[in-house]
Symmetry: C2
Subunit: 198 residues, 2 copies
């Protein structure tokens, strides 16, 4: 697959261990979001720090569950706390505590929405926030995280993504809005095989 | 609260930032299972490594979402992979893939069961497994994790828990079964206030 440059550690792992499932699903659960390979996760955290340390983030924000490993290693290197938004499926009559900021994410895979929330006291006004996550596809989860940050009158100073699906619109939308977005691997196609942007 | 010895870093944080909710719930989401304080998490990971490194674990196993941060830092120090069991609520007609080991956990808080699973290929037979988690109360989640390990014909070589509710039966059950269990903080009572075993 490589044409112009050597693959980075994450890209190598995707090519070696990524699995294709129907519906343009790239399964990377051997190392990224079920099994956790600390070598590649640590490399990813280092890459995000290199890219965003100059923006002096106060906090690393992600969403449960797959983003937590990346967030905690990135936060450790930056010497700041991490915070993961909690998910829950939307139910009628769901009572949500007033001490949280809330968002809603449409899951294309599941064809339904779920709510996310963070405690207000953990996302202070004025905080410089680095958002990290494992995947960026259509961008719904990321947009909800950005909205949470704005609800808090805090600032998104960077967005670090492990794997961007370059053939879906999320990355382009986020870049057009002016956010500094760093995707460590961009997948240009999953059919008939994994093709990385190199 | 301290009578015999100085509090460790986790215990200090529990006393400073733990919050009591109705139903003997100890909320520690400012630093342990929503907001993630990397200093205390790193200390915890170091304590688990000190206690269990001699057993030479091949893998650190936990359950999403709260255990992931502890597991990844512990795995990093040990130089082994981590693995988190995935949760989902039990539904009628739920199809479960044949390439997973499955377990079921009764949630006392929610008064219903949910399923957990891990991919078989990520939990190999003969592996020496260190289980870590944030809380041990009645022990249902921990017992389900232990069963997953046994399903794989792997071995539990240690169990590292952040906070054990010493007034519930989980810790005693697990110790009576002979597992090497290390709880970094044991709460003896939550009424009328947090009382730690020191």
């Amino acid at each position: 697959m490589a044409e112009g440059r050597a693959l980075n550690l994450l890209e190598e792992r995707i090519m070696a261990e990524g699995e294709l499932l129907p519906g343009e699903v790239l399964r990377v659960d051997r190392f990224l979001n079920h099994g956790l390979d600390v070598e590649v996760l640590d490399w990813m955290a280092g890459a995000f720090v290199e890219r965003f340390a100059a923006a002096r983030p106060d906090l690393v924000l992600t969403i449960e569950a797959s983003g937590i490993a990346i967030a905690v290693l990135t936060a450790q290197k930056l010497g700041v706390p991490a915070l993961f938004a909690k998910k829950r499926e939307r139910k009628a009559g769901d009572l949500l505590p007033e001490d949280c900021y809330h968002g809603e994410v449409f899951s294309y895979t599941k064809q339904k929405s779920y709510k996310i929330s963070v405690r207000k006291c953990l996302l202070p006004a004025g905080a410089k926030v680095l958002i990290v996550d494992d995947f960026l596809a259509r961008g719904y989860a990321l947009e909800a995280l950005i909205d949470l940050v704005h609800s808090a009158q805090a600032e998104v100073v960077g967005i670090g993504i492990a794997i961007e699906k370059g053939f879906q619109e999320g990355g382009q939308k986020i870049r057009e809005q002016g956010y500094p977005l760093c995707s460590l691997a961009i997948v240009d196609s999953l059919e008939p095989e994994i093709r990385l942007r190199v």
